[in-house]
């Protein structure tokens, strides 16, 4: 159990460090690379929670897909890599309040032990259960999310094809 805990702290520290670079880094490409590491750290946390499927999907979708596209967009935008990104803007106070509120809420939830946040039952293999749950109990939310994604995709195409 101690090993698990030690790994948790290592991973958490790594994730936080990477996330810090993402938020505070001045170079946008470096920030994007750090984002990849942050996602990997989160995937590691998933593994510690016995959610291997989620971890693999996290790496596949977020690292292999989304961040790559992000980097792609950065590189295609001419010379954006050269300009130092502004770390702080006018809404810093507002976002700080929002962040602090979220943190407080999470701390409260963790300490109070809200039932939904207690550990899931140990399963020998998570993916069949996940699949069944998505296609039975949570079929409607799942479809709603797909429609949302479809809408996002259509919107992106419309934006890209301006003429």
């Amino acid at each position: 159990m101690e090993i698990k805990l030690a790994f948790f702290y290592i991973l958490a520290a790594f994730t936080l460090w990477a996330a810090g670079v993402v938020v505070l880094g001045k170079n946008i490409v470096r920030a994007a690379v750090a984002l990849i590491f942050a996602f990997c750290g989160v995937a590691g946390l998933y593994v510690l929670l016995d959610a291997e499927f989620l971890a693999a999907v996290q790496v596949l979708i977020y690292v292999g897909g989304i961040t790559i596209l992000l980097l792609f967009a950065i590189m295609l935008t001419s010379r954006i890599g050269a300009t130092a990104a502004r770390v702080v803007n006018d809404q810093v106070a507002l976002s700080a309040i929002a962040g602090a509120g979220l943190l407080a809420g999470l701390c409260y939830a963790t300490l109070q032990g809200i039932p939904a946040l207690t550990g899931p039952p140990r399963l020998p293999e998570t993916s069949p259960f996940l699949g069944r749950a998505l296609l039975t109990t949570y079929a409607l939310p799942f479809e709603v999310v797909s429609v949302l994604l479809l809408g996002g995709m259509v919107g992106a195409i419309v934006l890209a094809r301006k003429e």
Partner: protein
């Protein structure tokens, strides 16, 4: 350090210029140091996204004022310089030059010498097309065809070496004849090579012509319409690839070309594919010509009587021959002195290259390499 970090192009410049709100035009330099420009050629490509809207070739990096040098040498001394024009087809360059001088002098060449010239020039055409095929394959990412072609070219070079002692710059043609006769057994060796070479052509087909990936890269790419090709005075495989079956060996016969039976392959799809097919078929036709010439090869003199110092009568001539790359013209003006008063080379690659912007317009950037490869330039000849 990181604040100023940006991918600065190496050896290239990019100017982004906004012509209006929606369209961005970009200038991209290709070359002069680039693996696919076959020498030091620089292309300034004007891009609209992935498409080429215009192209400006910059030539002259190899310029050595060949024509000025020629005017300061006597007629015989010019021959080695012609080798260096199209260094992949030196025999053909020699041929064009000596033929022009002979026309100027009104000199008749012994038949055996004429046949030797034709044999060597056609072998040279095969070697030159082989190099083209190999490097074209290389441009499109097919490395194997390159090695195959060089294997056969090596054999042609061996034949040339046996004849002239040289492998690249032969200087073997003389005004009024040839430097030496074929050595003993050469004709048999040459026949052996042809027998060996003929079954190799289907091998190239298997690797290139019948390969669907290759065809997807070349079909419908780099269109040069027939009319434009004639306007630009394109010649050789570029003209024949634009649907004009025009070959000086057939249409304005020189030497003894009127004694052979051969086809002039031409294809009317006007694209890279057509130019590829023309060169591919021409190798087979050259084999036919060499075979007939070897069969008809007469015995006798190989050198006409020429004075020790060649002084053509005052006058001028524009003599053209069909080099592997197209119409090779020599414009000579003589004032009766031992040196050419004016010596001008109409190099086929130079003229064909001037039509390149027409072929590239509307092409994808990625096709640029294929189109440039299909023109088959040799910059020693373009830049002179």
């Amino acid at each position: 350090m990181n604040e100023t970090h940006t991918p600065i192009p190496v050896g290239t410049t990019v100017v982004v210029e906004r012509t209006d709100e929606t369209m961005e035009e970009m200038y991209v330099n290709m070359g002069p140091q680039h693996p696919s420009t076959h020498g030091v050629l620089r292309l300034m490509l004007k891009l609209d996204g992935e498409y080429i809207t215009d192209c400006v070739p910059y030539v002259g990096y190899l310029h050595r004022c060949h024509e000025k040098i020629g005017e300061n040498r006597n007629y015989t001394q010019v021959i080695p310089y012609t080798d260096r024009l199209d260094y992949l087809a030196s025999m053909s360059m020699n041929f064009g030059y000596v033929q022009a001088v002979e026309r100027l002098m009104g000199l008749a060449v012994p038949p055996r010498a004429e046949y030797m010239r034709v044999i060597l020039a056609e072998l040279q055409r095969i070697a030159s097309h082989l190099i083209w095929l190999g490097t074209f394959g290389l441009d499109l990412g097919n490395f194997t065809i390159f090695i195959y072609c060089f294997r056969e070219r090596e054999m042609v070079l061996d034949l040339f070496e046996a004849v002239s002692g040289q492998r690249l710059n032969y200087s073997f043609y003389r005004i009024g004849g040839m430097a030496m006769d074929f050595p003993d057994g050469w004709v048999e060796n040459c026949r052996g090579f042809l027998e060996w070479f003929k079954p190799r052509l289907p091998e190239y087909d298997a690797l290139m012509t019948d390969n669907i990936l290759f065809r997807k890269r070349v079909e419908g790419v780099g269109i040069l319409p027939t009319r434009t090709a004639v306007e630009y005075a394109a010649s050789g495989p570029v003209l024949r690839g634009s649907g004009v079956a025009w070959d000086l060996r057939r249409n304005d016969p020189y030497s003894v070309y009127d004694r052979f039976e051969f086809d002039v392959p031409a294809y009317d799809s006007c694209d890279v594919w057509a130019r590829y097919l023309v060169r591919r078929q021409e190798m087979a036709q050259s084999v036919r010509i060499v075979e007939q010439a070897l069969a008809q090869l007469p015995a006798g003199e190989i050198q006409a009587k020429v004075p020790k110092t060649i002084k053509p009568p005052a006058g001028q001539v524009y003599a053209r021959t069909e080099s592997p790359r197209g119409e090779l013209g020599f414009y000579l003006v003589s004032d009766g002195s031992p040196k050419p008063y004016r010596y001008k080379v109409r190099s086929p690659a130079f003229v064909n290259l001037s039509a390149l912007p027409e072929m590239l317009k509307g092409c994808l950037v990625a096709d640029c390499v294929a189109v440039l490869g299909s023109v088959d330039i040799v910059l020693g000849e373009v830049d002179r």
